[in-house]
């Protein structure tokens, strides 16, 4: 114990751990335990009836489904953006780099309104898409578009620094050993960025699951069809049904936590599997 303490360069482990617990407790655990406590005011039957109603189930499917699609799209295109930003020089690069963060800065309601005006029947994109028979605004697709928009920065910003750390000579070494460009990517580069890609994916997914502000403008909010879980929670609150709202929130939270935990474990596993052990 004392030995371990001496080895640390900076003092203050006790203080910083204490503060971390205090901070997390105040910001995360306290509100969440309040949430769980509130659901205990419901009887088990009532709880089940609330969370397993067809409308709630449709909303879970929509929210988790659309969030997964959006996070996957972000994983693919975010990786592409990160790659372009790290590996190439081109005019306007710093502008593109700054653009990536914009979805973070924009109030989500503004994002929702903007996207809706673009994709609505009389919008710039919408008029052509609807002519082609594709309805984006006020449909499932619109929700995916909004969730992809707000989740874009996560993958780019997690993958970018890792890509920057991979020296070009690693690729050159692979090439001199006879690897094709595809092999170099698949066996050398991809494994080392996979953990970062996964955490970016997870962050984008988590963000999408909880998103409310931008989606309500573009989704059309039709029960059973385009009603997301956060909207269902707001609907319950609007009826002063606090317990019902928290019941659905608890289900969503538990499912999200399980999902995030699973991805984190997967990430650990990939990290261990592909880790290059120094000689």
């Amino acid at each position: 114990m004392a030995q371990r303490a001496r080895r640390r360069i900076l003092p203050g482990f006790g203080l910083s751990l204490g503060l971390s617990w205090f901070y997390l407790g105040l910001l995360v655990l306290l509100p969440l335990s309040g949430l769980f406590l509130k659901t205990f005011t419901l009887t088990w039957e009532h709880f089940w009836e609330t969370v397993a109603s067809p409308r709630a189930v449709a909303a879970y499917q929509l929210t988790f489904g659309a969030s997964l699609v959006a996070a996957l799209a972000n994983a693919v295109f975010g990786l592409l953006v990160a790659w372009v930003l790290v590996r190439y020089r081109f005019p306007g690069k710093s502008l593109v780099d700054a653009l990536v963060d914009l979805p973070f800065a924009l109030p989500t309601a503004v994002a929702g309104l903007t996207l809706t005006s673009l994709y609505a029947r009389n919008g710039w994109f919408g008029q052509y898409l609807e002519a082609a028979g594709i309805q984006v605004a006020y449909s499932w697709l619109g929700i995916v578009v909004a969730l992809t928009f707000i989740g874009l920065p996560f993958v780019v910003r997690t993958v970018q620094p890792v890509l920057e750390d991979i020296d070009a000579d690693v690729e050159e070494a692979a090439a001199t050993l006879g690897a094709t460009p595809w092999q170099t990517f698949a066996k050398v580069i991809f494994p080392s960025i996979l953990p970062a890609l996964l955490s970016g994916f997870t962050l984008a997914l988590a963000r999408a699951i909880g998103e409310y502000g931008s989606v309500v403008f573009i989704s059309g909010n039709m029960p059973m069809r385009t009603e997301i879980v956060p909207l269902l929670i707001v609907t319950k609150l609007e009826q002063y049904d606090y317990a019902g709202a928290t019941a659905i929130a608890v289900v969503m939270l538990t499912a999200s936590f399980a999902l995030l935990l699973a991805i984190n474990l997967l990430q650990r596993w990939t990290q261990r599997r592909f880790e290059v052990r120094p000689g």
Binding site: A2, A5, R6, G12, G14, L15, G18, L19, F22, T50, S53, P54, R55, L113, T116, S117, A120, R121, N122, G123, A137, Y138, V216, F217, G220, N221, M222, P223, M224, L231, V234, T235, K236, L237, E238, Q239, Y240, D241, G244
Partner: protein, 355 residues
């Protein structure tokens, strides 16, 4: 630095934990300091917690009332206002937002201030004239200029192929009036046949392509996105759209019958008494019934509820055959339970079996 001994370590830990314990105390002290003192020398501040479309109305009215108060009472007064969805605002007040007066979209939200918050007495609505509604409105239709679909009355809205825009009554308090207006019309038309009213409302909502969460969102969908042929709206919002925002693009259609929408006002007794603002709060609400208050309401497209002034502004507001919520539904509590609570009529319209 000497090697750390257990004693000095535990000493530093104790010091650190003292800091940790102090933190919440400091936070509490800060909160306590920021609470307004009740001393009488300070200028009085009132907080009016209201719903969304009254923002401009109360901007004007607050300025007028402050002038009136300072001229008659000789003391300083400042009024703050907060706007949002009616139900959300009521919840904020129940959860502790220190509103001195509440001016919301429907009496149901006020009832909750009594029921869930214990902030106002049960009989709050009888304390001021006209069911505590200094201004009223009604539910009308907004169509595109020239009324291309020839929509004249509620019946025309349920024709197949007509796109109707109205917000979700479960998330928008204001939109509950829209729903109830349609139901009331159908019920009276059919001589009180509930099944017919239900079928009418169901086919009306089958014509709704987008259920926005609030009234302003629905206006955007209709006016900016060009979705739908007709929007069901409060008259004040409709007038705002046709006379100010979307001049020459939209017109108002008055249906043969509609509902009297009564947005109520009340002093939030518990807050006003604790903060010592009751006198100002009561005067504030009473002034809404004065000539100046009624004129400002009319200017912002609300119908003045005081007879003398409603006659004065009659030219601005066309006559409508109105029924009251109480006549048709027997009060908000019943209307809410039957229609908008979970598994109520509105939910049944949208459950797959009913379609």
């Amino acid at each position: 630095m000497p090697p750390s001994t257990p004693v000095s370590r535990s000493g530093s830990w104790r010091r650190h934990s003292a800091v940790l314990l102090l933190l919440p105390g400091l936070l509490l002290a800060l909160v306590a300091c920021s609470k307004p003192g009740a001393s009488s020398s300070e200028p009085i501040t009132l907080l009016n917690v209201s719903y969304d479309p009254t923002r401009e109305l109360y901007d004007d009215f607050n300025a007028a009332f402050v002038k009136h108060w300072e001229a008659t009472q000789g003391t300083k007064l400042s009024i703050k206002q907060s706007h949002g969805g009616s139900g959300k605002q009521a919840r904020s007040v129940i959860d502790g937002l220190e509103a001195d007066v509440a001016t919301l979209a429907l009496a149901y939200d006020m009832d909750m201030l009594h029921e869930k918050g214990g902030l106002i007495p049960k009989d709050w609505q009888s304390r001021l004239p006209n069911n505590s509604s200094p201004y009223t409105s009604t539910i009308v239709f907004v169509v595109h200029k020239g009324n291309p679909r020839g929509l004249r009355d509620w019946e025309d809205l349920v024709q197949p192929g007509v796109g109707v825009i109205t917000p979700n009554p479960k998330t928008s308090g204001g939109a509950r009036w829209n729903y109830l207006a349609a139901w009331g019309y159908a019920l009276r038309k059919s001589g009180g046949d509930e099944a017919k009213a239900r079928e009418f409302v169901a086919s009306l909502y089958r014509n709704v392509p987008v259920l926005d969460s609030g009234a302003r969102g629905a206006t955007t969908t209709f006016a900016e996105r060009g979705i739908g042929d007709v929007m069901i709206a409060w008259e004040n919002e409709a007038l705002l759209l046709t006379e100010e925002v979307g001049k020459d693009k939209f017109e108002i259609i008055i249906p043969s019958e509609s509902i009297l929408a009564e947005p109520p006002v009340t002093v939030v007794d518990k807050n006003a008494d604790r903060r010592g603002t009751r006198a100002a709060a009561e005067a504030y609400l009473q002034y809404l019934y004065s000539e100046e208050g009624q004129t400002i309401a009319a200017k912002h497209h609300y119908r003045p509820s005081v007879q003398a002034f409603s006659a004065k502004f009659a030219s601005h507001f066309p006559p409508v055959k109105l029924f009251t919520l109480h006549e048709v539904f027997g009060g908000w509590k019943k209307a809410q339970q039957t229609h908008f609570d979970d598994k109520g009529v509105f939910d049944q319209i949208y459950t797959p079996m009913a379609q």
